[in-house]
């Protein structure tokens, strides 16, 4: 059974507000219900993506907006939460259990999702920037990638964020020199190679093929896959030149979609750290292994047009949904005109968690 994305909504990402998680979610869900032609009573699923420890958020939010769905639940998969929620929603509709599911992602800046405490293989180096730096060092050593290559990615994504009023860094201009000279965190990564945890909320509405007949501009999920390699850095560190979960999820998603990387016009790639965008180009198959730093200069693909995690900020539970929302808006020709790209038919969303132990790939088409 086919599944489409009917409508999307994003609240502005910011450092913090006085709103609670459920209040943020309600605002965004109401926006979705105002945008869609699907009636509130027809919504038979609500999946809340968050790393918050707050209890029973699915049912609390259902009650606050007056939903009585078949399934109302909270889902956590660290940075990959939002795309995992879409995966679950897709599966429930594709199997015929549900017809219409709202996926909403919410996070506060100081989320338990910003750090994985369980992984003792990281020793005392438990901040994510340490594993990211080890990936970067391996890429530099094996493929001659350099600081300037990473700075180009940060510059591109921050420039894109300057065209996205919902982005945390919408009003902040970072030039190439600012990035290269920014504060060193863990070599070779500097502060402007790293995303910033923030508050945010993004939602979307998934519908069945039957309900999609009432959608103005349905965007179809053609392929969706996830791969999980465990949770510890030890599990994936035997080869730091690549992220295996991304490679496996990509291969499966392209197979489902009967497409290849060159068929994709626009992609949202997980850039919590600049090096991860380089690895994503290679592991998804947009370019050969080791050529990621050259690929960014070739401009063969629109990437991270909303500003990526680097420019938008990273509200952990909302990120995967906001990445998807951007691709939907671009394919619907509904992105703000300043950042609307022309002639996009097919898009890809890549999201991942915890040193690449988990990755999701979604391929969509208009």
């Amino acid at each position: 059974m086919k599944v489409a994305i009917d409508s999307v909504d994003t609240l502005g990402f910011e450092k913090s507000s006085d709103f609670s998680l459920s209040e943020l979610a309600c605002k965004s869900i109401i926006n979705i219900l105002k945008k869609t032609k699907i009636e509130k009573q027809e919504v038979d699923g609500l999946i809340v993506s968050t790393c918050s420890n707050e209890q029973y958020l699915g049912n609390i939010i259902s009650e606050m907006v007056g939903l009585n769905p078949k399934i109302s639940t909270k889902l956590e998969n660290l940075c990959n939460s939002g795309t995992s929620a879409i995966f679950l929603g897709y599966s429930l509709i594709a199997s015929g259990i549900c017809n219409s599911i709202i996926i909403t992602g919410i996070e506060k800046q100081y989320s338990p999702g910003n750090q994985l405490l369980w992984d003792i293989t990281r020793g005392v180096y438990d901040l994510p920037v340490h594993w990211a730096a080890l990936f970067a060092k391996a890429h530099f050593r094996n493929f001659n990638t350099c600081d300037e290559d990473l700075a180009l990615i940060s510059e591109k994504n921050h420039k894109n964020a300057n065209k996205n009023p919902n982005a945390l860094f919408y009003n902040k201009v970072f030039r190439f020199d600012d990035i290269i000279k920014s504060k060193k965190i863990v070599d070779p990564l500097k502060i402007l190679d790293c995303c910033y945890p923030c508050e945010g909320c993004s939602s979307l509405l998934l519908v069945s093929e039957k309900l999609a007949k009432r959608s103005e501009n349905p965007i179809w999920i053609k392929g969706i896959s996830q791969n999980n390699q465990g949770a510890s850095f030890a599990n994936i560190s035997f080869d730091l030149r690549s992220i295996a979960s991304t490679r496996i999820a990509s291969r499966e998603a392209f197979k489902q979609a009967k497409l290849k990387p060159s068929d994709i016009d626009i992609a949202e790639l997980h850039d919590a750290f600049t090096i991860l965008e380089v690895l994503a180009y290679e592991d998804i198959g947009f370019t050969e292994k080791g050529q990621g730093s050259k690929f960014v200069k070739q401009e063969r693909l629109y990437t991270n047009t909303r500003g990526g995690l680097l420019g938008c900020g990273h509200p952990v539970g909302a990120t995967g949904i906001d990445q998807t929302n951007e691709i939907v808006l671009q394919l619907q020709d509904k992105a703000p005109s300043i950042r609307q790209r022309k002639n996009c038919t097919r898009g890809l969303i890549h999201n991942m968690a915890a040193a690449g132990t988990s990755s999701t790939i979604i391929i969509v088409e208009k």
Binding site: K137, D187, A234
Partner: protein
């Protein structure tokens, strides 16, 4: 006492242990009560303290300044502090191990003396 607590207690007494499957003859790290290959109940065994440096970097983060890297010790991989700027693929030894107040394992690696 759970497995992690047992391992932490041993570290405080100066011994660095991991779980070990007697059937597969393999260490498990992070520790687990059962072998993930054959499900046999594991025991605790000393981590072989001679390994190889897989990758390294330098942290500028306050409190963590200095070289650090990931080492492989007979299949167990852990990130630790480097005593000096050791080269990748060099043989290293676990020279120090202790736990800190944040419930983390602080490991130090040094270059093997020839």
């Amino acid at each position: 006492m759970n497995l992690k607590e047992k391992i932490f207690e041993k570290i405080e007494n100066g011994t660095f242990l991991s779980t070990f499957c007697p059937k597969c003859k393999k260490h498990m790290w992070p520790p687990s009560n059962n072998c993930k290959e054959c499900f046999t109940t594991t025991g605790l065994k000393d981590i072989y303290n001679e390994g190889i440096l897989l990758e390294k970097s330098y942290s500028h983060i306050v409190g963590q300044q200095g070289y650090f890297g990931i080492g492989d010790f007979s299949g167990i991989r852990i990130i630790g502090k480097l005593e000096s700027n050791i080269e990748i693929d060099e043989i290293i030894l676990i020279s120090k191990v202790k736990t800190n107040n944040n419930n983390k394992i602080l490991v130090e690696f040094k270059k093997i003396d020839n």
